[in-house]
Symmetry: C2
Subunit: 299 residues, 2 copies
């Protein structure tokens, strides 16, 4: 790889995102306080901010600036966070810890956790719509972006993957079913993050196709590595209980294919990602470095 | 009142909405089937379709046709339905019946009910965005409509009202707190239904202000009448257990102000609604008849 300083890039983008999230979210004392505290608790708990950074990187790879996409970048993090809050509920995965802290419902109760998730999903679309007020952004593109995000987050994307994931618990599933879960539950939103960033940044059709394909491979690689980390990781590095997939009898990529084949598959997908980004020349450096990071990360 | 045939108007609009809802919702066998069945079960359970009809009436009062707003009309019904599914959950109001049938989680389980609600909220925004593809609709207006709906459905609207409602259970609350709950939990979405219909129909600023004010009064009157019906109604006419607010120790408008004062207040709000619609002349006939219906209905 080039001498691109990924750490500095990620740190700077993450700082921009954290500042914007804090600014966009209603304050803790805004009535009614309970739900706003719950929203802020989970969104501002840290995390890699991978989805907003992908939105920004998607804009940058076609030559636009981070400021053009910041409301939409924050919206993707809110959608991701809402899905975590709802997934952690007793009626769903019943998890007590997330990102090293008690889960939302353990702190605020199930009712407020459900409503905080609902509110984050709702507010996300408000932010995307408000993105249309920024200079250089076409309202028709924003409408396409709203539709694309909704598709990626709905039953043909993230929610659909979660449904099949829940239905598969404790059952024998095929490699095809596992790929369905991964592609829908995780990859769809990661891919959409990259493509809506590029769309808002003014990408033409060929650029959008390259970005969409790269996002798909990257998203799938991310989930395979997540599965590997769940088998290998520790509470310390993951911020959640390692082996929790196994405990919940969830089938993982390494469980079906073995650790070594999983690593090979993830690396192959990352090579594909970087190859598809080649058309963008030097502008692809941040995304290519990010792709390497996704497969090499330890948490 | 004029000789306007409200029954025929409502029946025709409801039929249009029911056909469109059936068409927009993914089929029962679309993978993954469980969540699509759950979505269809609750959305297609019938109901007054008041919110979509308000969207249509909002368009018609400014001279636009129902077809211009149909995706957004259906979106409002999906948002309303998602809120009912989540409100009925054991972690929230814990209701077993709704519209005379078992609630969503009683049939599909809590996990699928949560996800079906999430999916309906998500899909609603996809439909609103797709409304931009219809002839005569400006993408900038659609972006404003997405933002307005999100605001009305979020913590400054419906979700905010639900949070305070839940927090108030079993407590003494003031008339101001009860009005906060009513204005946010119910009136916000009803008002938004009317105003986004008018917006998409091409309303100018003064028309929009009149419609917004009318929608606010109408929404509040609707909730007061709902409270009266909960005290007076029966399972047969309501499709849910009468007195359920009392059983859950929820404070209602009649409990604070008495039945007669509640009726007077509702009638006064309806007069205000009709007065604000006067500027639209003959075009206001459907909405004025609808306003009378809201206060005189028995279920």
């Amino acid at each position: 790889m080039s001498g691109f300083d990924l750490d500095a890039y990620l740190q700077e983008r993450r700082r921009l995102v954290d500042v914007a999230l804090d600014r966009f979210l209603p304050g803790e004392d805004t009535p009614p306080p309970a739900v706003h505290r719950a929203m802020r608790y989970s969104v501002l708990a840290g995390g890699k901010r991978l989805r907003p950074i992908l939105v920004i990187a998607g804009a940058e790879v076609v030559g636009a600036s981070p400021s053009t996409v910041m409301p939409t970048a924050c919206a993707m993090e809110m959608i991701h966070t809402y899905s975590l809050i709802h997934d952690d509920l007793p009626a769903m995965d019943d998890d007590d810890y997330r990102r090293g802290r008690l889960t939302n419902h353990k702190v605020f109760g199930d009712a407020i956790a459900i409503l905080a998730g609902d509110a984050l999903l709702t507010y996300a679309f408000q932010l995307v719509a408000q993105n249309a007020a920024l200079a250089g952004v076409d309202a028709r593109v924003v409408c396409d972006v709203v539709a694309e995000i909704a598709q990626a987050a709905g039953t043909r994307g993230m929610v659909g993957g979660q449904v099949v994931d829940i239905e598969s618990e404790g059952k024998t599933i095929t490699p095809e079913q596992l790929e369905y879960i991964h592609v829908h539950k995780t990859a769809a939103l990661l891919r959409a993050s990259l493509t809506v960033g590029a769309r808002l940044g003014g990408a033409d059709a060929p650029a959008l196709a390259a970005v969409a394909d790269a996002g798909q491979s990257l998203g799938l690689a991310f989930q395979i590595v997540d599965d590997i980390l769940d088998v290998e990781g520790s509470l310390e590095t993951l911020g959640k209980t390692a082996g929790s997939d196994e405990r919940k009898q969830k089938v993982t990529y390494p469980a079906l294919h073995g650790i070594e084949a999983s690593r090979r598959e993830a690396r192959g997908l990352i090579e594909r990602t970087k190859s598809r980004l080649g058309v963008f020349g030097a502008r692809s450096a941040p995304l290519c470095a990010l792709a390497d990071f996704v497969v090499e990360r330890k948490s």
